[in-house]
């Protein structure tokens, strides 16, 4: 089953996938997927993200693959839904997408053995973990100014039940920018696989329903500019679309001063 969350006519709805690019509300109404506002498929709890979890991407950034998972956290200000906009600040010179398999936790677990780890999973979705490299600093890197910006983590549209994904470790990942393929990889190339990540995180902290683990991205990063339409797709999960906008458009109707350069 594929489940999503939308806003429609003043209410939030849980929806399922129907045919012909339509979504099904619980009361039976069918809506075109383009006429609803997509929300992240779950209300996120703690959001974990992985850095350098694909060897080719680590090489691309000139880093040695990590020996323990390189984990960072994100706040609830970052996730946004399918078909939304992400802002590229005026002073950014390098902003890139990252297509990632997102694991949604469905049960509570602490010190979960690797063999039991997938029992904790509710399902999988797709995330695009945008980064603005201009803001990288070497304190708790990648720092929040790079990775925890408002609306910089599109996620969704569908949460696919765990049991409908027989092998999460063999899924093709693809990013297309304006319909041109720019990133291709497979979850088979993860350094720390989903079960290992759950075992690792739950070894020191309790994981709870709604927590989300973004599992990292393979090589193939590229700068994205205002107006670009970025599609992040994972085989058997879903395809997530996001559009880049500049400050002028994003703050077109803002009462506040121009965004500060610093």
């Amino acid at each position: 089953m594929k489940r999503g969350r939308i806003a429609y006519q003043g209410a939030v709805h849980q929806v399922t996938q129907a045919t012909d690019r339509r979504v099904r509300l619980a009361d039976g109404r069918l809506l075109n997927e383009s006429e609803v506002d997509w929300l992240p498929p779950v209300v996120p709890g703690t959001i974990f993200a992985l850095g350098l979890n694909y060897a080719d991407h680590a090489r691309e950034l000139a880093f040695k693959p990590p020996e323990v998972p390189l984990v960072f956290l994100k706040g609830p200000n970052t996730p946004i839904g399918h078909r939304a906009q992400t802002r590229r600040p005026a002073d950014a010179t390098y902003m890139h997408y990252e297509c990632e398999l997102a694991v949604v936790i469905g049960k509570t677990g602490y010190r979960v053995a690797k063999a039991d780890a997938l029992d904790l999973v509710a399902g999988y979705t797709v995330a695009n973990d945008y980064a603005i490299r201009d803001y990288l600093e070497n304190y708790y890197r990648p720092n929040l100014r790079v990775k925890n910006r408002d609306g910089c983590t599109p996620i969704g549209p569908w949460l696919v039940d765990r049991d409908d994904v027989p092998n999460p470790m063999a899924l093709a990942l693809t990013t297309r920018v304006n319909d041109v393929v720019t990133q291709q990889g497979t979850t088979a190339d993860m350094i720390f696989d989903v079960a290992t990540l759950i075992e690792y995180l739950s070894s020191f902290m309790t994981l709870n329903p709604g927590d989300i683990i973004l599992t990292g991205t393979p090589e193939g990063l590229a700068d994205v500019k205002a107006g670009d339409v970025v599609e992040s797709e994972i085989e058997g999960i879903c395809s997530l679309q996001s559009t880049i906008v500049d400050d002028r458009r994003f703050f077109a109707n803002s009462e506040k001063r121009e965004a500060r350069a610093a």
Binding site: V68, G75, N138, M205
Partner: protein, 221 residues
């Protein structure tokens, strides 16, 4: 403004006081390649929060915890792109907090294992916003004062910190922004009782217990 409980996300900042900057030493060399420009932030997720009076369990293999006494600004309304001049208008109160960490000398990589274990953020009740300019936080371990720090030593004062953080992330009502912890704060070990207080506003207490047995582990139904 509606009185707000701590129910959102807790953010903290490192290297925001003159004493810590002095202690960590030269930052020009690798891995830092320069002092921080933007606030160097971290997140304490929901599993870390416990109330005053809690018993905090030492993580497996740890013998001591760093006790980072700090003060949290409790956000009272959605806050984004604030100006320092009126940033504190978005604050509805403060909390005393003990940001507990496994000792880690390097700030290069995110310290999730070190800072996000269950119970690693004892946090007090929401108190009215006091004058923060020279508030002194006192840390006592087993009745002995081990640290006193004045918020006068902060590099980014609370209003400026809020302005710089809300430049790129919206804070929601119930979120908390901790104003800074000491680099290599005092350590407390198994059986210690810890008290953090600020004269005139209140105190926070907790104890540190040995690692739990394995009864509470695994996947919960």
């Amino acid at each position: 403004m509606i009185t707000q409980n701590v129910g959102g996300t807790v953010y903290g900042v490192i290297l925001n006081d003159t004493v810590s900057l002095q202690k960590i030493g030269a930052l020009d060399a690798p891995p830092y390649h320069g002092a921080p420009k933007a606030p160097a932030l971290y997140i304490k997720p929901a599993n870390t929060r416990v109330t005053s009076g809690a018993s905090v369990t030492l993580p497996r293999g740890a013998s001591t915890l760093e006790v980072g006494a700090t003060l949290g600004l409790v956000i009272g309304r959605a806050a984004a792109r604030l100006d320092a001049a009126n940033a504190l208008d978005a604050v509805c109160g403060v909390v005393l907090a003990a940001d507990l960490s496994l000792p880690h000398a390097s700030y290069y990589r995110p310290a999730i294992r070190e800072k996000c274990f269950d119970g690693s953020l004892p946090i007090g009740e929401v108190l009215p916003l006091p004058d923060l300019s020279a508030l002194v936080l006192t840390t006592e371990i087993d009745g002995k004062i081990v640290d006193q720090r004045s918020l006068a030593e902060l590099i980014r004062k609370p209003a400026q910190l809020l302005a710089d953080v809300s430049e790129f992330m919206t804070l929601a009502a119930g979120d908390v922004l901790l104003v800074g912890v000491r680099y290599q704060a005092p350590q407390a070990g198994k059986g210690s009782r810890v008290r953090i207080s600020a004269a005139g506003i209140g105190s926070l207490e907790f104890s540190i217990a040995a690692e739990k047995d394995a009864a509470n582990t695994g996947v919960k139904p």
